[in-house]
Symmetry: C2
Subunit: 200 residues, 2 copies
DNA sequence: CATTTAAGATGACATTTGTCATAAGAAGAA
DNA sequence: TTCTTCTTATGACAAATGTCATCTTAAATG
């Protein structure tokens, strides 16, 4: 019996998938979590064989969770299940070492099969992702990402500089460089583009 | 046997819900649609008893579809199934005369029950919606909304003014007023807040 | 070891953004 | 028929944003 944990904040989908998987004779959903924090506790308590993780969840994202698990030496298989085909997410997941990455836009029937394959040591990725993976590298340095994230959260340049203990001019320079790199007209377009590509 | 159509663009959820509902002895999912346009054709061909409609779908939204159906005198029951607790959507759905409005954040078990009740002439609404429906009115005028939408798409004030055949100063005034109304620090925060509340 | 890149800074400058006072015309409500 | 709200506009001003050139130091790469 494959023991599965599902972490997904949309209750309707989580419930439906659990019921569905429980109909499979060799699969049992032993736990459901609403967010990454809840999931981490349940994983410690129950050590499931496979974790199905959504990415965008409150408190702690599925990617954060996966990275933590592997760092801590977890042997649990991890399948990311998300709406987002963003290259950034996919790359980060691969880098973390996940065993599968499926899109919510795929057929639900394949899910049980994916779980079995992953348990069998194989990897499972949505084909459209592998195909689209023409390395859209993040052109931003880590500092630039930090700055852009703060600006995207609504802070002014001056506030960002106070936050990061930088001079106001430096932040302005960073923003200028970011806008230039992303070929944007202004910070708003830069934010939109960076989010689309999964760069922040 | 209650004959059900599901229109939902996220294949995983659509598939899972269909399978789930088909396990119910008195319910049969007779059709699945990827978008509003596909749904409308299937409804004409098959006249289902109940339609489960997502709101945000490509080509034609679930709300557009529901309104069209009732205008055309359809007797099919309509249940909106969506992620969004936005007051605007809810109000529009009520106005159109839908028979149910459920959130994807609710339990999947209740779905079958909701379908039965609606067939029985009752209405079904997610309690949090009715409760939260303390009229979070959109403080923006329609012109202000237009301006903010364009700014959110990355245009500068000047570009917006060219777009709407207004003077640059007028657009600046609008933005100033918008920022003031939404109690934001700058346009970026205004955009975030307005999107959160579903005001643009 | 030389070179490149990232991080950080300054200064000068032009442009954009945000605020405020003020005003006129149109439409709708009391 | 007033009164209010919405749309549109100007002008003036302060603050924020974006661009560019230039410079230092540290770390990484060849």
């Amino acid at each position: 019996m494959i023991r599965v944990l599902i972490a997904e904040d949309q209750q309707m989908l989580r419930g439906a998938l659990s019921t569905l998987l429980n109909y499979e004779v060799d699969i049992e959903v032993i736990a459901q979590a609403n967010n990454g924090k809840e999931a981490i506790e349940l994983i410690h308590q129950l050590s499931p064989d496979v974790c199905l993780l959504d990415i965008e969840m409150p408190i702690k994202s599925g990617l954060d969770l996966a990275e933590e698990m592997f760092e801590a030496g977890s042997v649990c298989k991890v399948i990311i299940l998300t709406t987002f085909a963003r290259t950034g997410y996919f790359e980060r997941a691969i880098g973390a070492g996940v065993h599968g990455y499926l899109l919510k836009d795929g057929p639900s029937e394949e899910l049980a099969e994916a779980i079995r394959r992953v348990m069998n040591g194989q990897k499972m990725f949505s084909p459209e992702l592998v195909f689209n993976h023409i390395k859209q590298d993040n052109p931003l340095t880590s500092r630039e990402k930090e700055v852009l994230k703060l600006v995207a959260s609504g802070l002014t340049s001056k506030e960002v500089s106070a936050h990061l203990y930088l001079s106001a001019g430096t932040v302005r320079n960073y923003m200028s460089e970011i806008i230039n790199k992303l070929e944007a007209k202004n910070r708003i377009e830069a934010i939109t583009k960076a989010k689309e590509k999964g760069w922040i």
